[in-house]
Symmetry: C2
Subunit: 411 residues, 2 copies
């Protein structure tokens, strides 16, 4: 995890912020699943100001349409999520998603319009409401501020690790929190690179700035991750604010807003980073840091192009300093700059190697490069030497395991 | 090979057209290579009207700069090509490429400005002129109309099959030919999807229409192939016309021009298709045929998106009718159409299965689908049901072998 001064990592994940509780149970949504939690609930004692972002894919999961509808007033109080089936491209998907909200509302004694819904898993297979209906009452009873991890487990599909994090910080002497859980491992690409992310906070912030902060931080974090270039149909990122930190409400972009936005960045950046690290079949986290670009957008395009290249990813799997492939990926990115100025360095905890300056290779020790690249976290440092624009993108290596997982996922 | 009426497949490849000869020798360009041909020459008895297209990557191999310079007058008489080293991102790359042309010119007693040059292999490693210099005189002596296959072998890198083809047809009672050799297996993506393609013809056609035909047919063939989404630095496609068929010169877009263009399509389409089939690690050729698009460009975008999706490719490797991934890839393609109208069929020699209509899944026999998808040539038929636009794109499945090849390529 990348640390930020003034922000302390704390336990609690999506329940670290005041007012939130969660739970996850085994519902048996995917036939044969009797061991993994697959139904999660997140609940807040208060109705929350809530902002959300969704996939840009034209094919959208049914839960997205229902969540968008329920969020029209900008408020929500609970989220119900299943894994094992994406509830997408089904004839009665919307109906099922609505039912999930209604059953949750009933169990929690709240308005169905205040319940949001998410699904993740195989596309195009009917989702039965039966196992969900059977388990929602239990799920509601089991809600606890200590069960972020269970909810986190319940939203996982091919994820191998839980992605869960919270930070604590102060605004005007009040203890504040931002925390979240997130899943995503395959079918992960900008924009945006998560299938599901649920972030909560107790910071009191007006609806407009809540949405602004989510949009801005998403653009710098989840939208800078690619595992396989496939943009999912079900990407949903939700940010709920209980306001229970009792700080003076943030209504303008002052230093308090900045503190909040930085907290959001600390959580979402680390969750996004962990998503890349846990990419399907990945053995390595790739972090491409581009600087010296004519502007931020150019830096983003170049950084994404590098971490998305199948050939760069395969080379990194082999700890092979095949920098020609990096330069090639920089070259075909649709960005404008002078390729003859570009320098590339490869770095990890084992050190740093310059492999290319002025757009051409320089001699370096292959042995040292191999040592640097054998680490689990690799930095690819690109300097375009033609401006001040900077960006970071995260990806992972391409491995046998990625192919194995995706050749066997459905069957 | 896909057959076209009026065009007969004939022997001879890049030498089928009147006037052309070729050869390929072992020069030992890649250290340790003593068994595979790696230096090729193509020569014509006449100076040829010549058109060419190059990679859109900002990082361009040195040979491209030299070829562009030598082709300024629109004429060429010979091509010298090496595999084993891309001669790209090297300090003295241009100098080496120029030397390759000069040595070839000397051996053939022609003007160095009439020699074009290509290189393919690893990027960013110095290319020594020594082994090339030593072998060019032999290569020139060995030139023969029967040695297209040797030249074809010499331009291969990770290709497992030779891509070589020629057709014979008639224009105004004269026997005409279009033939070619092509290589490309990894780092293959639109535009354009070949590393190297050399096409020759004996049809007499004016320079302007030669270039127009090449550009048009390339857009429908090589530029519709993707193996891994990485656009190479060295893509070069050259079309030489000797005019020795002695047909009345084609100077306007009449039926004779159409015959020529169709011949070019028959050759380039089949070479492009074979490039996809021989994609690194591929076990299957994927052909995505899109119809009913609002326009041709939309059809192209959708077709390319489907055959480029890692998840679709991995599913095809497993003969898994995971059509949700196909719909997902259609959905995130940057094209405008109504997703609720889309239908998808999967077909092969074993039959055809409809898996999705009106943007939603329909029930089908998984067993029959598995049988259809277990073939080596898979058609993915997409109908957008909102216009007359059509396009075809070619790709391959994503396999363990792709990762293996690219994790070990350089080392």
């Amino acid at each position: 995890m990348v640390k930020f001064e003034g922000y302390e990592f704390v336990e609690g994940g999506v329940c670290a912020a005041e007012g939130f509780a969660a739970a996850g149970v085994i519902a048996g949504i995917k036939a044969g699943n009797t061991t993994k939690r697959d139904l999660a609930m997140i609940y807040c004692a208060e109705r929350c100001r809530t902002a959300a972002l969704y996939t840009t894919n034209k094919v959208k999961g049914a839960p997205i349409y229902v969540t968008q509808k329920h969020l029209k007033d900008g408020y929500a109080q609970a989220i119900i999520v299943n894994s094992g089936n994406a509830n997408t491209c089904n004839e009665n998907g919307i109906e099922i998603a609505e039912q999930m909200c209604e059953l949750t509302a009933e169990a929690l004694d709240i308005d169905a319009e205040d319940v949001l819904v998410g699904s993740t898993g195989v596309i195009g297979q009917p989702l039965s409401i039966k196992p969900i209906k059977a388990r929602i009452p239990t799920l509601a009873k089991e809600l606890s501020p200590k069960k972020s991890s269970e909810a986190c487990e319940a939203i996982m599909t091919t994820d191998t690790r839980k992605k869960e994090l919270a930070v604590e910080f102060e605004i005007d002497g009040r203890k504040c929190h931002v925390g979240g859980i997130s899943k995503g491992s395959g079918m992960i690409a900008p924009n945006m690179a998560t299938m599901l992310g649920f972030i909560t906070t107790d910071v009191a912030v007006c609806r407009e700035l809540l949405e602004k902060a989510l949009r801005k931080v998403n653009a710098l974090t989840y939208s800078m991750v690619s595992v396989d270039g496939d943009t999912s149909t079900n990407d949903t990122l939700i940010l709920m604010s209980s306001g229970l930190a009792k700080n003076p409400e943030i209504t303008c972009e002052d230093t308090n807003y900045e503190k909040f936005e930085n907290a959001l960045y600390a959580v979402m950046m680390n969750l996004a980073r962990e998503t890349a690290r846990d990419g399907e079949g990945a053995t390595k986290l790739l972090e491409c840091i581009v600087k010296g670009a004519p502007d931020e957008n150019t830096a983003k395009i170049v950084a994404k192009s590098v971490i998305s290249s199948s050939l760069v990813k395969a080379a990194m799997f082999a700890s092979d300093a095949n920098w020609g492939r990096i330069l090639c990926a920089i070259g075909y990115s649709k960005a404008d700059f002078d390729i003859t100025q570009v320098s590339v360095e490869l770095a990890s905890e084992k050190g740093k190697i310059t492999v290319c300056t002025d757009g051409a290779g320089i001699s370096f020790s292959e042995e040292s490069a191999k040592e640097v690249l054998s680490e689990e976290e690799i930095k690819i440092l690109v300097d375009l030497h033609c401006g001040e624009g900077e960006a970071i993108a995260w990806g992972c290596d391409l491995t046998f395991e990625y192919v194995k997982i995706n050749a066997e996922y459905r069957t």
